[in-house]
């Protein structure tokens, strides 16, 4: 994954814009509200100062010319004196108006950010289901989940808290800059002299500090891993009496996390402290030069107050600006990590996408299959299966058994050769139609975290309960389910019962049965079931099977020997095929395995006859 990341540090803005679909106007309303709110916020302190300095203190200096002309047009100071309540009322009204825009800004940006996040999550989820199987084999689940949750969250927070926050200091700088420069250019320059330094140094500091955030995160991950291993391996820890060493390991990780995070906090503390010094120095500059100009030339007390208050109002948002700009980097990194997922192509339909009725006559003709990296998995596999036949596959781990049935479902594309079902090339059969007609049970089947009933009914939600019970009975799992407190309504997974491997396999078999597909695949799916139950299930399956073509992958000769055809795979080659009787006469893998398993049998019998 890391190599991929390095290749693609750029992200396309396109993804973000696509994800904002339907929410752009909220963004716009929010931006306008923000500017209006900022404008009004500037006016509020004026009301108090008009009341105190102008109306009561009879000092006209504090009034900018526009305000002065407005007041004069309604009757000047006399009018305000006789209607003194107007000013406090104005104060409340302005605040109310400001509040209204703050609300509009907030609500609209929230709609935009959360809407974007929803679009993004939905798109990711769907995309992950549509990418080829191969993709899933090569990813780390933790990494992808990390991207789908925290990276999406980083982008969401960026829009919610930061995107528009850039506007606020800029608006403020423009307004105050205009007022200050029109008032006194020299003082204006002095009053904002240090602000660019503040922004730029914030920006670089936060870029620099980012790696310390990463160190702290890594240390936390390490702590979490040590803890997790200790907890899951608690029996081993106890059995080897290693509590002391475990405590040592944990203490190290705990201390490392503490130290690294403390270091990070110290660096942040240094930032806040030093940028405060810089900010107050700016205020001091304004004050001192204001005083100096007031003493030596024509600058006024009102001017000093105006400039110091504006400098103070500008300093902290401008400092924040640097931080926001630095954090933007985080959002772009997150976006590029998400783009990485989106850029992986989804499954394609290479052929005619037909939806024929499927009966189950299958033929493999010179089928070869290799992974993208060129590793050969299957070579020149040819065999045929007639509707209703049972095909057994035997082979050691890595011989290509599972790949063979995956090809049939088009989970992988065939590299060379053809697979046909009822004479139709599977590449021409619509993918979903094909898969719907093939029922498969994997060695480690996956159940969804919902009730057992819903799990069995998943391909056929309208199936009557009786059909579900029937399927569960065939899979020898009905009694087990009934023993659970909530029976078929028992939740599966983390929040429900923990099922054993055998129980999962049997529920998956019931699920497959309810699918009623003309082609069935049991990929070593009775391995965790004891032999007795294995037998019972196969017997029941046999009875029920009817015309379904069945593939069985197994290590157990007893499971295989009754098949119509047994395929023996070795290193991706089909080395033997035939019935049990035929194969047992040939020298080869099948005979060897049969003999080993036979020996066990004989030993057993000898044991009883000793």
């Amino acid at each position: 994954m890391t190599s991929k990341e390095n290749k693609k540090t750029k992200f396309s803005l396109k993804t973000l814009i696509k994800m904002m679909k339907g929410y752009k106007r909220y963004l716009l309303i929010s931006a306008i509200s923000l500017i209006l709110a900022a404008l009004i916020w500037f006016a509020i302190p004026y009301v108090s100062s008009i009341a105190v300095d102008y109306v009561i203190g009879e000092n006209e200096e504090v009034l900018p010319s526009i305000v002065k002309s407005i007041i004069e047009s309604i009757g000047g100071r006399e009018f305000l004196l006789s209607h003194f309540y107007l000013l406090p009322l104005c104060l409340v009204l302005f605040t109310l108006l400001n509040g209204l825009f703050v609300f509009l800004r907030g609500r609209n940006i929230a709609i935009a950010a959360e809407g974007m996040a929803k679009n993004m999550r939905d798109a990711l989820y769907e995309h992950l289901l549509l990418v080829p199987y191969d993709y899933h084999k090569h990813i780390s689940t933790g990494d992808i989940i990390q991207r789908c949750t925290s990276d999406v969250d980083t982008v969401r927070r960026f829009i919610l808290n930061q995107l528009l926050e850039v506007l606020r200091p800029i608006t403020m700088v423009i307004i105050t800059g205009y007022i200050m420069f029109s008032y006194n250019v020299k003082m204006a320059v002095i009053s904002i002299a240090l602000l660019p330094i503040l922004t730029i140094s914030s920006y670089f500091y936060f870029k620099y500090v980012r790696k310390y955030f990463a160190y702290s995160d890594e240390a936390e991950g390490k702590l979490s891993a040590v803890l997790q291993e200790n907890l899951t391996g608690v029996r081993v820890v106890r059995a080897f009496a290693q509590q002391k060493n475990e405590l040592k390991k944990f203490t190290e990780a705990n201390k490392d996390y503490k130290d690294k995070t403390y270091k990070l906090i110290k660096m942040l503390a240094f930032y806040w402290g030093s940028s405060d010094v810089l900010g107050y120095t700016q205020i001091l500059l304004t004050l001192v030069f204001g005083v100096y100009f007031a003493v030596t030339s024509d600058f006024t007390v009102g001017g000093i107050m105006l400039f110091t208050s504006y400098t103070a109002a500008l300093t902290w948002p401008v400092r924040q600006l640097g931080r926001v700009l630095a954090d933007m980097g985080k959002a772009t990194v997150s976006l590029s990590r998400l783009d990485d997922i989106f850029n992986h192509p989804t499954e394609v339909e290479p052929g005619k996408a037909l939806k024929p009725e499927i009966r189950g006559n299958i033929e493999f003709k010179d089928v070869c299959f290799a992974y993208d990296d060129g590793e050969n998995v299957l070579e020149n596999i040819s065999f045929s299966a007639k509707q209703g036949q049972t095909i057994a596959i035997l082979g050691s781990t890595g011989s290509g058994k599972t790949s063979l049935v995956h090809l049939l479902q088009r989970l992988y594309p065939v590299t060379r050769g053809t697979i046909t079902i009822d004479g139709e090339n599977i590449n021409d059969i619509e993918m979903h139609h094909l898969r719907k007609n093939i029922g498969i049970v994997l060695q480690e089947p996956f159940l969804f975290s919902r009730t057992i009933m819903e799990n069995i009914r998943i391909t056929n939600p309208d199936a009557p309960e009786e059909a579900v019970y029937e399927a569960a009975k065939i899979a020898s799992v009905h009694d087990v389910i009934c023993e659970f407190e909530k029976g078929y309504d028992t939740l599966v997974g983390e929040r429900g019962v923990t099922l054993s491997g055998g129980q999962k396999q049997r529920i998956a078999i019931a699920r497959m049965l309810l699918q009623n597909a003309p082609i069935l695949i049991l990929d070593d799916s009775l391995s965790a079931v004891d032999t007795e139950t294995d037998l019972a299930i196969r017997e029941a399956l046999n009875k029920r099977k009817g015309s379904a073509t069945t593939f069985i992958i197994s290590h157990r000769i007893t499971t295989l020997c009754n098949a119509d055809k047994i395929l023996v795979l070795e290193d991706g080659k089909l080395v033997q095929q035939g019935t049990h009787e035929e194969l047992i006469k040939q020298e080869g893998l099948y005979k060897r395995i049969a003999q080993i398993q036979d020996m066990l049998e004989t030993e057993l019998m000898e044991g009883s006859e000793e």
């Binding site: 996040a117 199987y133 503390a269 898969r435 994997l442």
Partner: protein, 616 residues
């Protein structure tokens, strides 16, 4: 797993429980000097904060009004000194707060981890690992943050509020009363809103964990989804969750965007009241009771007055929500150990962290179960074992055979003292094992699980897990004995190959071989094996069977057995049914009996019988 559900988070209406916080504060006060110095830094900071406006006024009054620059340089120097002191105080204050926070979380984590090492296995059987992880990581982090910063926030805001209130009353008590009228509605508003916001935030968090879960399931089950052609429906279902997330997030955000303007509005009403009454009074001229300076001060105070009120409301709301975390962490620390060595035993043999190995009597391996009864839930009438008796000579191999749930694992759990008998006793070399320490038994015990557990690290470290001081020769010798050496040498870095988290980079069979080597190296007197049922390819299977032979040699062994070869080689086979020994003896003896054992195994291995049934 009831009780470990999300419902844990739904406790919005809980009152603040002082006793919990008092107990947690003790962690902070372990560092008295740090807390004290933080308070001092805070006092310096607020003093300087209050001084800035005074300095500006002084500058205007002294220099501008008198039209002089005399004394401007000392003024600047003083100002710069204050700024620097403030800067240093801020650095100290923030890093000190961070230090306090990290120390508290470090301490609580250590304490909880030590507790976890002592808790009995019954606790682990009942408690999901994910639950414990959440307690140890996020709950403790949240808690420490609260203790460290809430303490500071509350102290700071309340001093500030009290200070401002006093100054206002001193300046003019009538005007102060008028301004303070705004305070009760403000406080009420804050409390109501903070609670509502918390409720929504909790909902958002809950939905968020649902989304994470859905992603997890979506990815883990992607292939199954494909084969079942559920892509569309699963996406539709997922969209319902994200819509829920979107709506509750927007609602939560909206609420806070109503709240903030409302607070500011109430504040402005306070300012307006001060301005109106104060201003009208000033305007009376000679009859005025208020000066213009006082009015200006009042207006300045009212604008600063309401922020701390918000802070207090927020801190209390956060405390309320963090309290759930606190309760969960404290209840973990307070969980009683079901299996504990008595003080007398601990005095002689030490505890699990500091065992006094020199006092450990050597174990020969003779084992007796005497009238042992056991139930997993105390009070439940479902006895797993009922008056179970068993004598095993040192060095014997016992195979436990029977259906799932018959009590095989329970016997092993009791032997390892992962659980203790409800009644009856277990003797090792003739002594009740409760008279010796757990570490004593466990240091002579080897244990291989059905699902072998490896720790991340190298293969070498894993083999040497039980004896970290083992030399390379010893480790290799152990690996050779169980035939793990060859496959290990085939790995890229041999013995120094990383096994990955939980051993993900190795196959189940390989993990098993490594765990056998681990046992050989630790050389325990008593060996327990929970055989795997899962299928392993035939060759590795052979290696494992050979390995088992070596491991069993000269040890008292208990095997929860599934393989015929292991069962056949056992000195004694115990067929367990319903918590009792149903049949017992050697393989041949049991086969001759033609009883339950015979049925079990003819069914399992006679393929002819199977074929006949299939042919029907």
């Amino acid at each position: 797993m009831n009780g470990y559900d999300e419902q844990d988070f739904d406790r919005a209406d809980e009152r603040i429980n002082l006793s919990i916080w008092k107990r947690l504060l003790k962690y902070a006060f372990r560092r008295k000097w740090l807390v004290l110095s933080l308070v001092i830094a805070m006092a310096i900071l607020s003093t300087i904060d209050i001084m800035y406006p005074l300095l500006s006024r002084y500058a205007i009054d002294t220099f501008v009004m008198n039209q002089t620059t005399e004394g401007l340089v000392p003024f600047v120097v003083l100002y710069i000194c204050l700024v620097l002191i403030q800067g240093i105080s801020i650095v100290y204050f923030i890093s000190g707060g961070g230090k306090l926070e990290m120390q508290i979380s470090y301490d609580i984590r250590q304490e909880a981890f030590i507790k976890l090492q002592k808790l009995s296995l019954s606790f682990y059987d009942k408690t999901p690992v994910g639950y414990l992880m959440a307690r140890m990581l996020s709950d403790i982090a949240r808690l420490s943050e609260m203790i460290a910063w809430a303490l500071i926030d509350i102290f700071w805001t309340s001093t500030f509020l009290i200070g401002v209130t006093i100054s206002m009353f001193v300046l003019n008590w009538k005007l102060a009363l008028i301004v303070i009228v705004v305070l009760p509605p403000l406080l009420l508003l804050s409390i109501v809103f903070q609670r509502a916001m918390l409720k929504y935030q909790r909902k958002v968090r809950k939905t968020n964990s649902k989304i994470t879960g859905a992603f997890n399931e979506g990815i883990m089950g992607a292939v199954t989804t494909k084969t079942l052609v559920r892509e569309k429906r699963n996406t539709e279902e997922f969209k319902e969750v994200t819509s829920e997330m979107k709506h509750s997030s927007i609602r939560s955000a909206t609420l806070s965007y109503i709240f903030m303007p409302l607070v500011i509005l109430l504040g402005s009403i306070g300012t307006a009241l001060a301005l109106y009454y104060g201003g009208s009074d000033v305007l009376k001229g000679v009859h005025a009771t208020i000066t213009i300076g006082t009015l200006a001060a009042f207006i300045a105070y009212t604008t600063q007055f309401f922020e701390p009120v918000q802070t207090i409301a927020r801190v209390f709301a956060e405390m309320q929500s963090a309290q759930a975390s606190a309760e969960r962490v404290l209840s973990l620390i307070d969980t009683p150990c079901e299996i504990e060595d008595t003080p007398e035993v601990e005095a002689i043999y030490g505890d699990c962290f500091e065992p006094k190995r020199e006092n450990f009597p050597k174990i020969h391996g003779e084992i007796d179960f005497i009238d042992v009864s056991f139930a997993y839930n105390v009070g439940s009438n479902k006895q797993v074992l009922d008056n179970f008796n068993l004598h095993v000579d040192a060095g014997q191999t016992i195979a436990l055979v029977g259906e799932t749930g018959a009590g095989k694992s329970t016997i092993v759990n009791l032997l390892c003292r992962f659980y203790e008998p409800t009644s009856g006793k277990i003797l090792i070399d003739g002594v009740d094992y409760r008279e010796r320490s757990q570490a004593w038994l466990q240091s002579s015990l080897g244990y291989v699980l059905q699902q072998p557990h490896l720790f991340s690290g190298t293969i070498f470290e894993n083999i040497a897990y039980g004896r970290p001081d083992a030399t390379e020769e010893e480790v290799i010798a152990a690996a050779k004995l169980v035939h793990a050496h060859d496959f290990i040498m085939k790995q890229e870095k041999g013995y120094y190959t990383e096994v990955g988290e939980g051993g993900v980079l190795l196959s189940t069979g390989q993990k098993q071989l490594i765990s056998f080597a681990r046992v050989i190296l630790a050389d325990p007197r008593i060996f327990v094996l929970d055989e795997a049922t899962s299928s392993i390819d035939t060759e590795t299977e052979q290696l494992i069977q050979n390995a088992i032979k070596y491991v069993l040699k000269d040890r008292t062994s208990f095997i929860v057995a599934h393989r015929l070869s292991t069962i056949r080689n056992a000195d004694r086979i115990l067929v367990i049914r319903d918590g009792r020994i149903f049949e017992s003896g050697t393989h041949s003896k049991l086969m001759k009996q033609k009883g339950y054992y015979y049925d079990l195994y003819t069914n399992q291995f006679k393929s002819e019988a199977a074929d006949k049934i299939l042919d029907k």
